[in-house]
């Protein structure tokens, strides 16, 4: 293979790496200034206000088009999650009942658990 110092592909890759480092370093210096923070937060603040107003406008539009709004879709998702949560609670209760009825160490899936007797292997001895 060609010497790495003369390999055009290696040179290209090294160059990309250096450009990345250099740009990151330059940008980090620029972003550390109070002026940067001021500008970014001014722009961000304006965006947040615009986003809020746009959201409210969109909500009215969807109502007029007889389409579900985001809030309504989220509401449906919440009801589904609530049903899932209740199913999980029932599942957990069933596991508890199963554990209480049997003496064996059973896990969350109701399967037998291995014994809690493990000890660390002596130093130098490879583990599986």
């Amino acid at each position: 293979m060609a010497d790495k110092g003369n390999d055009p592909v290696a040179i290209w890759q090294a160059m990309i790496g250096e450009i990345e480092k250099g740009f990151n370093s330059f940008a980090n210096q620029a972003m550390a200034s109070p002026e940067f923070s001021k500008v970014v937060n001014q722009v961000g603040g304006a965006t947040v206000s615009a986003q809020k107003q746009f959201g409210e406008l969109m909500e009215k539009y969807l109502v007029s088009m007889n389409l579900p709004s985001r809030a309504q879709v989220v509401g449906m998702a919440e009801r589904l999650q609530s049903i899932e949560g209740q199913l999980n609670e029932i599942k957990a209760m069933l596991h508890q009942m199963q554990s209480a009825s049997g003496s064996a160490d059973t896990g969350s899936a109701g399967a037998l658990r291995p014994p809690r007797t493990r000890r660390p292997h002596p130093p130098g001895k490879a583990q599986k």
Partner: protein, 360 residues
């Protein structure tokens, strides 16, 4: 004409041939890349033990013949998904722990819903974590629990451990956990109290959107995404590289929103007032001074962490009150410390050798 010094015409021909083959492979694999989805992540068998709003508690099915007495609860960072610790078989921290005989649970997060914008720091520290610990105790039948916190999961674990120093945490392990937020210089500048109106933000939009969280992470290394794309194209002939790229890229962009009130507390108490570092932090009116933590603690930090720089993490070990405490600095970055080839060689064996003897 002679070749320039150091350039061997035979090896150059070989190199050109290899590059032509790679160019052909790039075209074929490039189409495959666009047409296919990435590898399936987080597939280690697990049971959902409990789900409540943004909180999910999983139990991973043991695979060793015998397990350590003390179960392990992993507390994930609230900004990201837990599958970073369970990528694919052979590159999964969870799978590694299971094979080494640990009984593993994970407190993972889903996106908080709009009405969960009111979740406060105390909901995380005084409700979600204690609830999960109680359920781990019930499920395992053991009173002691080892807690592993990744990044901000480490901060939450520290807060919990400092409020409940008498148990049930038996061991505490933190990965890349910041405590001096004034040393997270760029984040601090982004949230400069003179210009950043956190009240206006939270009051206007409720939960902080994931795009905003992702942008703030990406701004720490603004050229890296573009450079990553160039590197991907160069290596698209290499299936292993592409698989790894897709796994990490998917995880990195799968950022979670943050509950509004919780974000407000992080900004004011940690970013602005640096209360965790100053020992003045309180959660729900209860003092949360990490010097109260007395349990064995291991803190793993990454040498090239651009998200949590070493200066932000280095005082943790000095400030906790534990007699049995250790900091380990390993090569790698914020993510490669815990996942990927680097972690397999370095962090995971170190953690096993530290935790095994403390889990009996």
């Amino acid at each position: 004409m002679n070749a320039p010094i150091g350039l061997d015409p035979a090896s150059m021909a070989e190199r050109i041939q290899a590059e032509v083959q790679r160019a052909i492979q790039r075209s074929i694999k490039g189409v495959e890349y666009i047409a296919s989805s990435g590898p399936s992540l987080g597939s280690t068998p697990k049971d959902v033990l409990h789900v409540r709003g943004t909180m999910s508690l999983y139990h991973y099915r043991p695979i060793a013949d015998e397990i350590y007495r003390v179960p392990v609860l992993i507390v994930m960072a609230t900004t990201n998904r837990g599958y970073i610790l369970d990528m694919i078989p052979g590159q999964s921290f969870i799978e590694f722990l299971l094979k080494r005989g640990y009984d593993v649970y994970m407190l993972d997060w889903t996106a908080p819903r709009p009405e969960e914008k009111c979740l406060r720091m105390e909901d995380y520290v005084l409700d979600f974590i204690p609830d999960c610990i109680r359920r781990v105790q019930q499920d395992s039948g053991e009173s002691d629990v080892t807690v592993i916190g990744y990044c901000f999961g480490g901060v939450l674990s520290l807060l919990y451990g400092s409020i409940f120093p008498d148990g049930p945490i038996k061991n505490l392990i933190c990965f890349t956990t910041p405590i001096d937020f004034h040393e997270m210089k760029l984040f601090r500048n982004f949230s400069d109290r003179r210009y950043f109106d956190v009240d206006r933000l939270v009051d206007s939009i409720g939960n902080v959107p994931p795009e905003m969280i992702l942008s703030s992470f990406e701004m720490l290394r603004p050229a890296s995404r573009a450079a990553g794309q160039v590197q991907l194209w160069e290596n698209i002939w290499n299936d292993e590289y592409v698989k790894s790229y897709r796994m990490f890229d998917r995880w990195a962009t799968d950022t979670l929103p943050l509950a509004g009130e919780y974000f407000r507390a992080i900004t004011k108490d940690l970013m602005w007032d640096n209360k965790l570092f100053n020992g003045t932090m309180s959660v729900g009116g209860r003092p949360a001074d990490i010097s109260r933590i007395k349990v064995p603690i291991l803190h793993a930090v990454a040498e090239h962490d651009h998200i949590v720089p070493y200066d932000a993490a280095k005082h943790l070990i000095a400030k906790v009150g534990s007699a049995d405490k250790e900091e380990v600095m390993l090569k790698g970055g914020h993510v490669s410390l815990v996942a990927g080839a680097n972690a397999i060689k370095r962090l995971w064996p170190k953690l096993d050798s530290w935790l095994g003897g403390r889990s009996i």
